[in-house]
Every structure is written in C-alpha cells, then in structure tokens.
Symmetry: C2
C-alpha cells in the first residue's frame, strides 16, 4: 500500500503525506470532509481537499490565534468565535477562568460532529458551560450584534466556498460594530509566499484597516500549511498587541503552552520586509 | 509534460515542485549536482537530491545567516565562510565596506562552477577583491587557524555526505580556537519539526554549547526547506545577539534587504516552547 494525500500550495508546488488509511469521507450541504490517519502527522482532516488541522501541529495554530489577544487584554470576558469547527480555538479559550461567555458560530454542523468523533482532544472544550454553539452563517449572525464582544476570532477556511463571506468588507465592518470599545479582532490571514495566498492576505489586510485604527499582522510557523509561513491579523479599536502586553501578568496565570510564550508574542509581530511591502501595497 | 521533483522532508512527507526542464546534471568527487528550471521557484539546484537554493527564496536564507551577526558586531573585519558554494553568503558579506577579508572554503569546486553558470546573481560577490576562495576541506582548513577571524559562518549541507565533519565537536572546538576574543560563529542549524531534522538540531546545539559561553538559536521562514521552519545557531565568546544589537547603527548603513530588518533580528530569537524544550533536552 502506497497511498498519498497531496495538497497544491500553488499551481506548481505540492505537499504530500503518506496515508495509513482513510477514516472518514462525507459531504455536508457546504463542503466535502475527509479524515485520514498518518504516521508522521497523526490524524488530520480536510475540507474540500485542504488540510485544516493535523494532530501534530494544531497546537501551533490554536496557541497563536488565542493567546496573543488574551495576553494583550486580560479583561476579555465575552468572546465570539466564527468558524473553528474543529474546536481547538474554543479549547484554548476555555482555559481562561476570566472568560464568561463564548459564542461559537460554525456554519457546518457536520464538521463539529466529525471532529468530536475523530479529534476528541481538539473538541474537548465544546462542552464547557460557558460555550454556546450556533450552527449558523457567521456573516448573518454578526450583523445583528452591537458592542457585545471583547474579542472576535475568525477561524475560517480560505475565502473559497463557505468561508468566502468572512473576508468581505461588510463582514469586517460588522465585526467592528459587534465589538465593544476595547474590542479586538483576530483572523486567520493567509500566507505571504505563494501568489495565490498572498493576494488573499493583501485583500484581507486592506479591508480590515479601513475599519480598525490598529491593524497589524503576526506570523507563525505552521509546517502543514502552504509555505509553513502563516499569518494572523490583529485589529483593534484601542489595544496595541506589543506595547500593551504585560508579560509578567500573563505568565502569572501559569498556562502551559507548547508554542506560545510572551517572547514569541512580541517576536511574531516583527515581519520580513517583503511581507511588509506586500501589505503596504494592499 | 508533467515532470515533478520531490524531496522527502520525513519518511512520510514530501515536497514537490513542477519542473519546466532540467538544466544540468553532474557528479563531482563529493556529490551529485542537478539544476532545474521552474515557474514557481525560478531556478533551483540540488545536492544529492536535496534543495540547496531556489531563486525565489534564497534571499531569506542569506539575509538571515549574514545580517544577524553583522548587525550584532559592526567591527567585524575578517570573516571565514565554510561551504556556501552558491555564493549567496559571500554576496551579502561583500555589501559591508567595513569587512576587509573574506576567506571562503568550499570543498567542491564543481558547486561553485555550476552556480557561476546558472545563478549569476547568487555568485556575484565571489569576484570581490577581498574574497579568497579555497577549494579545501573546511575541517582541515580551520584546524590550522588560531584567533584569526571575527566571524565564522558555516553554510553547509546537512550532516550527511561531505557536510558531516562540519557538525562534529572537533570542528566546533576548532571554530572556537580560530575566532578572536570577540568572535561569533553562525551555522545552519537544521529544523525542529520533523524528527530526522530535530535530532540533528539537538546534536548540533549540544556540541556548540560545550565550547561557547553564549549559544542561541534563531528561526527563519524558509518555505522550500523541510517544514519551512529553519534555524540558525548563533554562538559567541562575548556578544549577545539581542542585547548587543544597535538597531539605529545598522539602519544607518542603508542596506536594502528583502527579509532582514532589525525588528526581525530580535524577534527571530524568540522561539516556541516546544523548540526550547528540544534544545534543553539536547
């Protein structure tokens, strides 16, 4: 048996993983879902053929999408998570006793059901009493909210298929309106290296900075995503993610993390010149 | 025509690039050398089947292996470069007027000859009058030097084949002896994510810190190397790469770089917890 899964990172570059066996394949109203078992990456799942999380490196993505905003503003109590059907983002959020309420809006119930079965570690926070799970369109859900959240995390697929609305100007404007005066928006922000992804990164940045006075990106090493060089967007009404970080305060919480630390929090906002230029041109 | 080059990043993960055509294939006394043309990555070359540089991202590697030590100590005058047959490291070094002498020791003349033909941008510094090129074994060359260099850059292949001696304790000890009192050693330090590479990273770190009072690693996003998460080692007798950086001074030089800047210099030394743990265990 010589079975390989491949994902194209550009038209001419692909990343392939040897598969032990396929564990699941299904189709929802929104997308195709597949789960695979591998020796190198543990289990992973794909949506429409794109890797979402692998057991080996999901901690990197979830550490960096959650702990960066949480360490910047320790007073965050009400959080909205959009997408994130694998549960990893909510799992990290539930580690903070200071959080009172987490609304998670995932359009595709099947993603959550499949992840509950195959990725119990990732979904372990979904039963927390502070979590309300809505199987709805995030774009519609947020349009009805005004000054309700301290933090919005957009943990979406790429802007192709069901994730598309989560990269529009209208959506970012609604995020701005749904946030309180000290609100923070963090979103998965694509990648700078391959042109197909870089265009999405530029477009997202351009749209977010129209609405938010503070709009930065930070970078993370995620080996199973295109180029391994992934970005998150940090936008806010008041908080600066570097100068407002109180490292001692976050470290006093005693949270054990495998990627995040307060040094890498600051370091991640230092980005290469070629990425800066792409963002400035956007 | 559907021609692909593949490199295994672990036994079960591979990275593939669509090839327009093969431009060169040859064999030296030390290794096999191949040059390919692609649409996505420009030209690239391999040694024994491993990607060395691609036109698209070689600037990242060379920026970070050169400008980090040069910005840390602006008084560097005498430099030894080991390996680096593609010329990119010397090209970046020759941009500093303050450097008086660069000895480059590459065991394989054919690598330099092939790169001169196919990568003229990369090799453009080799004709600089300050450069002396030695086609010798770096391990032997350095064993005869005492307190001669301000900076040694080990820009080697992985420790398999001709690069193997450049990862031994004996070699690092000789580097220590060949450096002046303020000397700095920078080496390519492999990668933390896939176990085969992580073991090499751990071993290299363990050996270097036996000899150097200051021994750190810093990380770089190099998309065409295994996992995209690459490390360099920074070891020195006196200089700390973060606290001794004078950003204003380096910025006043006016060097234009596409990856390096003084913020990323500092940020690159902030490494993830899982990498720290691997290094501490080494």
């Amino acid at each position: 048996m010589d079975l390989w899964f491949s994902e194209y990172h550009s038209k001419d570059v692909k990343f392939s993983v040897r598969i032990e066996k396929q564990l699941y394949s299904g189709k929802s109203d929104f997308q195709r879902i597949d789960v695979f078992e591998t020796k190198e990456l543990g289990k992973f799942f794909t949506l429409d053929g794109y890797i979402m999380i692998t057991e080996k490196d999901e901690f990197i993505y979830h550490d960096m999408i959650v702990h960066v905003p949480m360490a910047t503003n320790p007073s965050i109590e009400n959080v909205l998570v959009i997408g994130a059907g694998d549960g990893g983002t909510v799992r990290e959020l539930t580690r903070y006793n200071s959080i009172k309420k987490i609304d998670m809006v995932e359009i595709d119930k099947l993603v959550v059901d499949v992840c509950k079965e195959y990725f119990p570690n990732s979904t372990s926070g979904l039963d927390d009493s502070r979590v309300s799970l809505y199987y709805e369109d995030g774009l519609k859900f947020i349009s009805e909210k005004v000054k309700e959240y301290d933090l919005i995390i957009v943990d979406s697929t790429d802007p192709i298929g069901p994730g598309e609305g989560l990269f529009t100007s209208e959506f970012y404007k609604n995020c701005y309106n749904a946030l309180k005066i000290n609100g923070i928006l963090v979103n998965q922000h694509e990648s700078p290296f391959y042109p197909e992804y870089a265009r999405l990164m530029q477009r997202s940045h351009k749209r977010i900075k129209e609405f938010f006075p503070i709009s930065k990106v930070y970078q993370v090493h995620i080996p199973t995503y295109a180029s391994g060089h992934w970005l998150f967007g940090f936008a806010s009404k008041t908080f600066d993610p570097v100068s407002d970080l109180d490292a001692d305060r976050w470290n006093s919480l005693g949270l054990v993390t495998r990627y995040y630390n307060t040094d890498i929090h600051k370091g991640a906002f230092a980005i290469p010149n070629y990425v800066k230029e792409l963002l400035e041109k956007s």
